[in-house]
């Protein structure tokens, strides 16, 4: 999955600046790593935890993980960029994941995606400039029985139509911008 650097760095401040002076999430991450014995084969588990805590993996965070597990940074960057699940850019306030699995696709997922792209003005893999919405695609979320499915902020929603997705997206984008 492409992760374009669509947002300016100001929209979400880098979390690493507070470190080591006190961002407690680093401490939580360290404890998590220790629970895995700081084993190098737990790298993916630790990246999952880091993304859960911070929302995305920036350079400082990846270097911190490399130091904690005593791994070369190249190995940590290599793994973090290999897997689609990990994102190195900040995500928007809301996420919309359009499932592009075969069952959803034959039931019009491509039209849903085009609808969201039109309504939001961004492409799959991008985040709106006001950091309200990140648009993503999934290869298959396994909800084929209720296709086409869209995941709004982690909530799988069945049998979506272009009208339904437009409503959801518009509500998010307009919210708070008077």
């Amino acid at each position: 999955m492409e992760t374009q650097a669509a947002t300016s760095p100001e929209t979400v401040p880098s979390k690493t600046e507070k470190h080591p002076s006190g961002d407690s999430r680093f401490r939580i991450l360290e404890v998590f790593a220790k629970r895995h014995g700081c084993r190098q084969d737990a790298l993916i588990e630790i990246l999952h935890k880091a993304q859960e805590l911070f929302g995305f993996l920036d350079e400082g965070l990846l270097l911190f993980i490399a130091r904690t597990l005593k791994l070369p940074p190249s190995r940590v960057f290599g793994v973090a960029t290999f897997y689609h699940h990990f994102t190195l850019t900040p995500q928007g306030e809301h996420t919309c994941v359009v499932c592009m699995g075969t069952a959803c696709y034959v039931k019009g997922a491509d039209r849903l995606l085009a609808t969201v792209e039109k309504a939001s003005g961004i492409k799959a893999g991008e985040t709106t400039s006001d950091a309200k919405l990140s648009l993503l695609t999934a290869r298959c979320i396994g909800a084929c029985g209720i296709a086409p499915a869209v995941v709004y902020d982690g909530e799988v929603t069945p049998r979506q139509t272009p009208q339904a997705v437009t409503e959801r997206i518009k509500a998010w984008l307009n919210h708070g911008s008077h």
């Binding site: 396994g142 909800a143 209720i146 799988v156």
Partner: protein
């Protein structure tokens, strides 16, 4: 825990059961259709009606007919309610007392249910996936006890071998043979790995098994570990399946508490621990050597085989890798015997297969049928055919590694060999039905786009070949290709198939090859040098008519 404790747990669970039971589907499909609110509402209604000591509201796994969810089954009435809303709670509870409320009742005599045969899914929709006692009440862990106490490891391998069970992940390698290789190979440590990285788009069998009956998979893994001499297991699950991960975590914790995992299982000398490894979104990790690299915390790239993981797997140690459904078949085989299992299915393909039925079909959901059932029975009888009187055009099996089987081959029995003869594969069990409105070249392009994105980049034929094939398919779809381009596409298919490092590349051309084989005219009609077919209009700007292609071409 010993055998007496196991039986006591079972009896206590059965003894304390209430006379009436509402089973509420709490698998991912129904959950996303408001299943949790339905369950909460039913519980509230039962308390309000003062029936709490008579009626159990049980959280269960998949009740299979996903398209009609949320589903609620009522025992002992034997009724199934479909599209239940929280407001229906009153009517559901009234129906328990023979009230006749307004409810959408499902027909359990419909072939969708009556033509199925449950082995892997026998507990799905029956047991509570978050309570180990519920699994034990359904004879859970009896097979493990039997294996540990009454069988030598080699007898377990032999039983699995004689059952004829073949790998359910796709390729169909004989499971017993794989087990015996790992058992024979010596190593300081051995590992058992469960491949739950169900990456094929359109497949949700393994997700359903893990969400509905996670203990069965753990029991199957423990039996395998005893048979091959392993002490540590890993389950590699996709991050996209959060509910399956949560239920597996609960299952592992509960099994440990009861002494059914960990040290000295059933007070024997056998030790087996299981850890979950969460995937991170890489289709190639379904390939076994890539999966092992990922379990070790590295980039999920495959390596050449041999050596096979059975000889040199995790950290160079002998490693057994089987798919979720394969492990789920093991406890019933040990409980009921190899001969029983071998009596189901065809000569070459034994037992049943779980399929995820989806796409342009009336009844979508999870099905389990005996091997050898004709595809026609599955899609027309069980699935009810295409909706709104449309015609089925093709059935896609095997995901991006499989192919499209045309409507005139629907009488083909579903077994490993027959599907391969048609240029498809059994695959893990995704079955997507396509109707007349589906454009087969677009389908080929869709799968090629998938393989292109998912190619790990390690070997050139796959990395570069998929990009070139995708570009050629785009060109054909836009009506800009010539016969020479089609020839080049076929040459590339042949090259990528024969020279790629792993299964991803070797099978990436399959969707193109199978659509070329059965729907060649759809390709030919789009070529520039040939007359335009009235059925497939070409727009003046050269793009194909219709939304799917026109819009997808921009992305």
């Amino acid at each position: 825990m010993d055998h007496i404790d196991l039986l006591e747990t079972k009896n206590r669970e059965l003894r304390t059961r209430k006379p009436l039971c509402l089973r509420v589907c709490m698998a991912a499909g129904c959950m996303s259709s408001n299943g949790q609110a339905v369950k909460d509402s039913l519980e509230k209604e039962i308390r309000a009606a003062g029936l709490a000591d008579q009626v159990e509201v049980r959280r269960v796994g998949c009740l299979r007919l996903c398209c009609e969810g949320p589903l609620v089954a009522s025992d002992p009435k034997g009724e199934l309610y479909q599209k239940v809303t929280p407001d229906d709670a009153h009517a559901v509870v009234a129906a328990l007392k023979n009230g006749n409320g307004e409810l959408k009742r499902g027909d359990l005599q419909h072939p969708f249910f009556s033509r199925q045969m449950s082995i892997v899914l026998e507990n799905s929709g029956v047991v509570d996936p978050e309570r180990i006692e519920s699994y034990i009440a359904a004879d859970g862990y009896q097979a493990l006890h039997h294996a540990l106490m009454e069988m030598e490891p080699k007898d377990v391998v032999d039983t699995v071998f004689r059952s004829g069970l073949r790998g359910r992940g796709g390729a169909g390698y004989p499971t017993g043979l794989k087990w015996s290789t790992v058992a024979k190979t010596s190593g300081d440590r051995k590992f058992v790995v469960c491949n739950a990285d169900e990456g094929d788009p359109g497949a949700f069998m393994d997700r359903s098994v893990l969400e509905s009956d996670p203990q069965r998979v753990l029991e199957g893994m423990a039996i395998a570990a005893y048979a091959v001499g392993a002490t540590q297991g890993y389950i590699y699950v996709r991050a996209e399946y959060p509910l399956a991960i949560a239920r597996l975590n609960t299952a592992i914790r509960q099994a440990k508490q009861l002494g059914l995992l960990g040290g000295g299982i059933f007070e024997s000398g056998f030790t087996f621990n299981v850890e979950i490894r969460i995937g991170a979104g890489a289709f190639v990790c379904g390939e076994e050597t890539a999966l092992l690299a990922s379990v070790e915390g590295r980039r999920g790239t495959p390596r050449p085989r041999p050596p096979f993981p059975a000889e040199s797997g995790l950290w160079g140690m002998p490693t057994l890798i089987n798919n979720v459904e394969t492990f789920a078949n093991v406890p019933p085989i040990l409980r009921r015997g190899a001969e029983w299992f071998a009596g189901i299915g065809t000569q070459q393909s034994k037992g049943t297969k779980v399929f995820a039925l989806a796409g342009k079909i009336q009844r979508t959901g999870l099905i389990e049928v005996p091997m050898g059932m004709p595809l026609r029975t599955i899609v027309e009888e069980i699935g009810g055919g295409a909706p709104e009187g449309n015609q089925i055009k093709a059935v896609q099996t095997g995901g991006p590694s499989g192919g499209c089987i045309p409507a005139n081959e629907l009488d083909t029995p579903v077994d490993y060999e027959s599907l391969v003869r048609l240029g498809s594969i059994m695959g893990s069990g995704g079955m997507i039905v396509m109707d007349q409105s589906t454009d087969m070249v677009d389908v080929a392009r869709f799968f090629m786009g998938f393989c292109m994105d998912e190619s790990c980049g390690k070997c050139i034929p796959c990395r570069a070949g998929t990009v070139q094939m995708h570009a050629l398919l785009e060109k054909i779809l836009k009506g800009q290709a010539t016969l020479r381009d089609l020839q080049r596409l076929e040459e590339l298919c042949d090259m990528v198939k024969n020279t790629s490092l792993c299964g991803l590349g070797q099978t990436a051309p399959n969707p193109v090859l199978s659509t070329l084989r059965f729907f060649r005219e759809e390709y030919l009609h789009r070529l520039r040098s040939l007359p335009i077919s009235p059925g497939i209009p070409i727009l003046p700007n050269g793009s194909h008519h219709g939304p799917p292609v026109a819009e997808a071409a921009k992305t």
